[in-house]
């Protein structure tokens, strides 16, 4: 074993250097690396998607003596073509942390006690049944994740929605992708991007909207840099609220005041129309204009309800709406010089330039998240730059299967694997495939994530099962939700791989198989489904989340709906799930095809992947005989929305005079529960910090590393200052990464959300600072 360990560390050393080289020298290749690994006794290389972001890089995992010892990029995966970032190269080390949870634990007289997993599963089933009996069907809930495999999410939905009759199924993707979904649905009538990563190899201009791709989607960013190096006519514009590594690498960096992206997007549309850069053929044939409700609130109160209402408007009404958004007017609220707004508009408006817009959390974690998604679509639709190679709006996803498991399987309260619970036909389809009475499926959605945790606090929910996520670090306004989870008569089950602040509040902890210790499937940002085998044996009694749910379902009497054997359940589940998506608009590849390839894009029709949707050259679902077919909407058109600028839920004032912005760093995945157990990543970024503008730091009298107290209306925290680090916020803003559970920054954030998507805004709330 000593030899293995050293070999492993040498491999990690080489991986680190190669990853560093990849970020510093775009397009660099180390094709002869295998000569080194060939000498090291690795016996097999197995394919899998990386689990540490939504890019979905294909990796090859080197296995020796039943242990994963190495990772390299899979050259046959079109996503990354053999590259990985530092998290990918070190990903297998996350399997082997010393405190891995390998046995089940149950709270007895206040203490967590190890028990056989079968006893823990008996208790979970008994408690679930008892709670339901005593408090009603909607008193039990499942909270999952965009890191759930597709089968995990599918069986969770089938058990809770189909068998137990409650729509209390949510996933943490509500916190990261819900606005992207409602943005797509309101504009196109169908979810998920029309384009694919090949857009990067075709675009001339990349505009990143509040999106630090250099750290969050590093392999895609390096592909952009490589394209810029190879082609003379490529530029990157970073449009953001703080300077990051993306800004440093960009050709131009433009800063805007938080929340005013709404105004700037409208100003770009104003300029496009004012200069007659509109692609009238496209607009006349393929676009219709609408408005919705305004002054729509922020959802900070319990039981907040909102339903938007679309009304058609004319092009002239849309033009009148835009008159409030001249570049000069917008400069005043956004801080973006009018000339920069005009410059952005000219790039979108130039018919010879292919533009791809990228975004992720900056636009989605936004109290007007749906609106800002709509507004960026408006820009692309006005100039007809969409659904063609290199031109398109591209909403990136954060988690490896936020698309696959949450958006496609529909693990949100209102959704089903196809359609929504409110639609009778969709309920009938689900009931038929699930073999349950249609009456089982409740036509009313229950709680979205924030409201689900509020319901847990109030006592409307008494039993919650949490899998593959860490809400006791990630929920906004965390103090309230932790206290709710800790209440005496709440029963919390947590399936996880390491101890976290969420396992701290658990009554039962179930040891979970991690990533390649189970067979599964993910779905990435570009509609790519990626299968992986069980490459390693899970440690101790660890079990896949899918199988845990099946075990509980059977204990509850649903053997008929969960009949599969442990030898082949993933293939069987996939083929059942695939029935929901039959047809040219969403056909998924068969299991046998997925097993062989490094990912397959849907719609997968007649053996062919669809690269660009809504364009008949690439998309067999187009049937209107025109150059584009936006078949998601009943009028066969994409919708341009008049959506105004409205301020954030909480803005700096005399008492709390700074914006607080939160986010991630390249070294760590989400709450760091896995990556902080990888020595290289942990050493590179051992703890969190508060990033300040140098002038704000000087005003406060703090230097690098000194402690700063950050205070919001909901909580306070002390952490070390970082000044002129890798990121520099604008004056009047601080930025805090959330990966470090010793600094629970979400005790300060606000649980305001977009009233349409119900996704919270982690990028904007008000705080004040003191030198600690």
């Amino acid at each position: 074993m000593k030899l293995n360990r050293r070999r492993f560390m040498k491999y990690a050393a080489a991986s680190s250097a190669i990853a560093t080289a990849g970020s510093l020298f775009p397009g660099i290749s180390f094709g002869n690396w295998q000569q080194v690994t060939g000498n090291s006794g690795i016996v097999s290389w197995e394919k899998a998607p990386c689990r540490f972001c939504g890019t979905g890089c294909g990796v090859l995992v080197g296995v020796s003596d039943g242990r994963a010892v190495a990772v390299k990029g899979d050259p046959s995966c079109s996503v990354n073509k053999g590259l990985c970032c530092m998290k990918g190269y070190h990903s297998v080390q996350a399997l082997y942390g010393a405190d891995r949870i390998t046995t089940a634990r149950v709270r007895k007289n206040g203490e967590m006690v190890e028990v056989p997993i079968s006893e823990a599963l008996d208790l979970v089933a008994a408690k679930l049944a008892e709670t339901r009996e005593k408090h009603g069907k909607d008193s039990v809930a499942m909270y999952g994740s965009g890191q759930w495999t597709i089968p995990d999410g599918y069986v969770a939905s089938k058990l809770f929605k189909g068998c137990l009759g409650t729509n209390n199924v949510e996933a943490n993707a509500r916190l990261c992708m819900a606005s992207a979904v409602t943005g797509f649905m309101t504009t196109f009538g169908l979810d998920e991007p029309m384009g694919c990563y090949e857009d990067i190899d075709n675009a001339n201009v990349f505009i990143t909207w509040g999106n630090n791709m250099a750290e969050m989607h590093p392999v895609l960013f390096s592909r952009m840099l490589a394209n810029r190096k190879q082609r003379a006519d490529v530029q990157i514009i970073d449009f953001a609220t703080r300077l990051t590594r993306t800004s440093q690498a960009a050709d131009k960096s433009i800063l805007f005041n938080p929340q005013t992206d709404l105004a700037v997007a409208n100003a770009i549309c104003y300029e496009i129309i004012n200069n007659d850069w509109v692609n009238w053929n496209f607009v006349n044939e393929h676009v219709s204009f609408h408005k919705g409700k305004t002054n729509i609130g922020y959802g900070t109160e319990d039981h907040f309800a909102f339903t938007d209402k679309a009304e058609p408007i004319s092009l002239d009404e849309y033009k009148t709406f835009l008159e409030d958004y001249t570049p000069e007017k917008v400069e005043k609220i956004s801080g973006v010089p009018a000339k920069d707004i005009k410059y952005l508009a000219s790039l979108y408006g130039d018919p010879t330039v292919k533009v791809t817009s990228f975004w992720c959390m900056g636009m989605n974690q936004h109290t007007r998240g749906t609106w800002i998604n709509n507004l960026v679509y408006n820009i692309h639709l006005l100039v007809g730059k969409i659904s063609t190679p290199g031109s398109g709006p591209f909403s990136l996803t954060g988690q490896p299967s936020a698309c696959g498991t949450v958006r496609e399987v529909g693990t949100l309260t209102h959704a089903l694997p196809h359609g929504v619970v409110m639609n009778e036909e969709d309920r009938k389809t689900a009931a038929r495939i699930w073999d349950v009475p249609v009456e089982n499926i409740d036509p009313k959605p229950t709680y979205h994530t924030v409201e689900m945790f509020r319901a847990l606090d109030r006592g409307d929910i008494r039993f919650m099962w949490i899998q593959v996520t860490n809400p006791m670090v990630t929920m906004p306004n965390l103090n309230r939700y932790r206290k709710g989870a800790e209440k005496d008569d709440r029963f919390i089950v947590v399936s996880d791989v390491y101890p976290t602040p969420t396992t701290d509040v658990a009554d039962v902890i179930l040891p979970a198989a991690m990533w390649i210790e189970q067979e599964g499937l993910f779905g990435n940002s570009e509609r790519r489904t990626q299968h992986f085998d069980e490459i390693l044996t899970p440690p101790g009694e660890a079990m896949s989340d899918t199988w845990q749910i099946i075990e509980v379902a059977r204990r509850l009497g649903f053997e008929k709906q969960f009949p599969w054997s442990r030898d082949d359940y993933i293939g069987k589940i996939w083929e059942e799930y695939r029935l929901f998506h039959a047809g040219a608009k969403h056909e998924m590849a068969p299991y046998t095809v997925l097993k062989k390839r490094s990912g397959v894009q849907w719609p997968f029709v007649n053996g062919k992947e669809t690269r660009w949707r809504y364009n008949p050259k690439y998309d067999p679902a187009c049937s209107n005989g025109k150059d584009f077919d936006f078949y998601g909407k009943k009028d066969n058109r994409a919708w341009i929305w008049a959506r105004p600028y409205e301020p954030a839920a909480e803005s700096p004032d005399g008492e709390f005079n700074f914006w607080l912005n939160t986010g991630r760093v390249i070294e760590h995945w989400h709450t760091g529960s896995m990556t902080r157990r990888v020595p290289v990543l942990n050493n590179a970024m051992p703890s969190s910090y508060v990033e300040l503008h140098p002038d704000d730091a000087a005003d406060l009298g703090v230097v690098n590393g000194e402690m700063v107290k950050i205070i919001s209306r909901r909580g306070e925290i002390q952490m070390p200052a970082q000044i002129r680090g890798r990121g520099v916020p604008a004056r009047g803003m601080v930025f805090v990464p959330f990966f470090d559970e010793s600094y629970l920054i979400n005790e300060l954030t606000l649980d305001a959300f977009c009233p349409i998507s119900k996704q919270p805004d982690y990028k904007k709330c008000a705080v004040r600072l003191e030198k600690a």
Partner: protein, 81 residues
């Protein structure tokens, strides 16, 4: 047992010479980039003394322009998990 990895950047046009020089040193493995003037160097020395000697040798390489550390660990300090 310290293990380190570095990005070694050769002086102009000296990538081949740098590879030869590094190859000749004890405790060194190299992975030259195929398409750029960058060499990944992985070192594994048995103890602190050997490590210091190697550092001295690296400093004296004629063809080396710069060396940046990418990774470091000491396997003797780590328990087998």
């Amino acid at each position: 047992m310290p293990i380190f990895s570095y990005l070694a950047i050769p002086k102009n046009g000296a990538k081949k010479a740098l590879c030869t020089e590094l190859d000749a040193l004890d405790h060194c493995e190299i992975i030259p980039a195929e398409n750029q003037d960058v060499v990944v160097l992985v070192t594994e020395t048995p103890d602190e003394t050997a490590e210091e000697e190697l550092q001295d040798s690296l400093k004296n390489l004629q063809s080396l322009q710069s060396l940046s550390l990418a990774f470091g660990c000491d396997t003797s300090e780590q328990q087998e998990k």
